[in-house]
């Protein structure tokens, strides 16, 4: 059996070479940008969707029912905090009724045993809870939420008691990487099936906080060793997915498997994006499920078509042997670091900007800056 993951799509599910896009496999549903936590690396855009602009229950249900015919297999209910939606159980039920595999990506702090049982009854297939550290004081400081860590531990316990499989989402950076071995042990103890060791990717909020988050090269080397050792020791007990920090990489990541190729994201207000960070690229206009069917948007949205395939690529991507493997890396990162989303992602060693970002990473990692700018609807608040 071959294995196609959200991170490394590499099989018959994947559109073939020379194809601009295939059938979408999975969709990230950002049902709200509201969140009780204020993590400084939040993957939401810096300019958050206002609660009043959110899609209604009826609109989400309609969109969910359009999905299976397009080929969509899985939906991830995310946010913000998806539990902030009063209708979340109804939305999960709609996904189940439509025949979709559903996953809840939550901070866990507002979960209750009753709501978890209701979600399980509604057909939820999987729960993913984020953890900010192993040490409660550090975890609560990173999340900007008092007593959050204890609530997460409780939510994890209830998830397992409801018979739902659990993934621990461990977001790693300079201020918590020393706790990675403890976080892996924590995941095993709570009966998690899987852990995502996700080094912060620097867009939006994380880019604002880069100096306080960027790991040192020595930390990354230690992290690689910890993950390799744990994969061996915990074979069959805890699956580990590892996202490396790409400022220190040689080859860029195949971001989203290619722009608009088999994944997309729906924002709280209904805009269809190739990824959760795409609105950080200024000048693009994304189509909304309020104006068009999902099928029309997937095939015809000008923003999705803009960086599909390889024709749009300038050099050094255009003549590169890897162009259909990594599609030039990440468009959002290219835009954030070079000002042009069509440029080669500077994480690639062929980018003329590569050496500069490597030095930026090394320099910022040594600054000793620890203060965060917390994520919120007001555009961010510096840590006291």
């Amino acid at each position: 059996m071959s294995d196609a993951s959200a991170l490394e799509p590499d099989t018959g599910l994947t559109p073939g070479k020379g194809t601009s896009h295939g059938l979408p496999v999975a969709v990230l549903l950002e049902v709200t940008h509201r969140c009780p936590l204020q993590c400084p690396y939040c993957s939401n855009p810096v300019e958050l969707d206002k609660p009043k602009s959110e899609l209604s229950t009826e609109e989400w249900v309609r969109v969910l029912h359009e999905m299976p015919d397009l080929g969509i297999l899985q939906v991830h209910f995310s946010g913000g905090e998806p539990m902030a939606r009063k209708d979340i159980v109804e939305l999960v039920q709609a996904a189940t009724d439509a025949g979709l595999y559903s996953n809840l990506i939550t901070s866990g702090v507002t979960l209750t045993r009753e709501r978890l049982d209701a979600l399980a009854d509604a057909g939820l297939s999987h729960v993913q809870i984020s953890f900010q550290a192993n040490d409660p004081a550090l975890a609560n400081r990173v999340g900007g939420y008092k007593n959050g860590h204890a609530k997460k531990l409780e939510a994890a316990k209830w998830t397992r008691e409801a018979g739902l499989p659990l993934t621990v989402n461990a977001v790693m950076h300079r201020q918590n990487l020393h706790e990675l071995p403890d976080m892996i042990d924590m995941a095993v103890e709570m009966g998690a099936h899987r852990i995502e060791v996700a080094n912060v990717q620097y867009y939006g909020w994380a880019l604002k906080n880069r100096a306080a988050l960027m790991p040192t090269m020595a930390q990354i080397e230690a992290c690689n060793r910890v993950v390799a050792e744990a994969e061996e020791r915990l074979k069959g007990i805890l699956a580990i997915d590892y996202v490396v920090p790409d400022y220190y990489a040689v080859r860029p990541k195949t971001c989203m498997g290619g722009w608009g190729r088999q994944f997309f994201n729906i924002s709280p207000a209904g805009r269809v994006l190739p990824c959760h960070a795409a609105e950080s690229i200024t000048g693009l206009e994304f189509d909304s499920v309020r104006d068009h069917s999902l099928g029309w948007i997937w095939d015809h949205s000008p923003a999705l078509n803009l960086y599909r395939g390889t024709d749009w690529m300038p050099e050094p991507c255009q003549s590169c042997d890897f162009k259909e493997e990594d599609f030039g890396g990440c468009r959002c990162q290219a835009f954030a670091l070079t000002g042009d989303a069509a440029n080669t992602d500077p994480a690639c060693s062929f980018s003329p900007h590569h050496d500069a970002i490597f030095k930026t990473a090394e320099t910022e990692a040594e600054t000793g800056e620890t203060r965060f700018i917390y994520r919120n609807l007001a555009g961010g608040t510096p840590e006291a």
Binding site: M1, S2, D3, A4, S5, A6, L7, T11, G12, L13, L23, V25, A26, P68, D69, L70, G71, L73, Q74, H76, G99, Y101, N103, S125, H126, Q128, R160, E161, G163, L164, P165, T167, V188, E189, G191, H193, R194, K235, G236, I237, L238, A239, D241
Partner: protein, 105 residues
């Protein structure tokens, strides 16, 4: 209805009855005209033989039973088939995509 799992590796043997847990679902996908195995943040593509095997993993039949059934269908030695099925099941178990015993409802 707990599928709480002791923190140890499931070692698949011939006398074991196995099943897919709740979060791993074998489904036929019409738009792609193919069988798929859905798991957390993953979609696996089982080949035709794997689909046949997975459809028989009901948590009641042992792997030995399943190998015997397949030996008749494919007219191949049951020992060879059992070895292959165990290897495939061990791979699924190591991904966390298999449970021992009755299917979790």
């Amino acid at each position: 209805m707990s599928d709480a799992r002791a923190p140890e590796r499931l070692i698949v043997t011939g006398d074991m009855a196995v099943a897919l847990p709740r979060h791993v679902q074998l489904r036929f996908n019409k738009p792609r005209d193919m069988w798929l195995l859905l798991a957390p943040e993953r979609v696996l593509e089982p080949d035709a033989i794997a689909v046949t095997v997975l459809q028989k993993c009901d948590g009641a039949r042992t792997i030995h039973d399943i190998a015997a059934e397949l030996a008749e269908i494919y007219t191949a030695p049951v020992e060879t088939i059992e070895t292959d099925v165990i290897a495939m099941m061990q791979d699924l178990a190591d991904k966390g995509f298999l449970t021992e015993g009755r299917k979790h409802e």
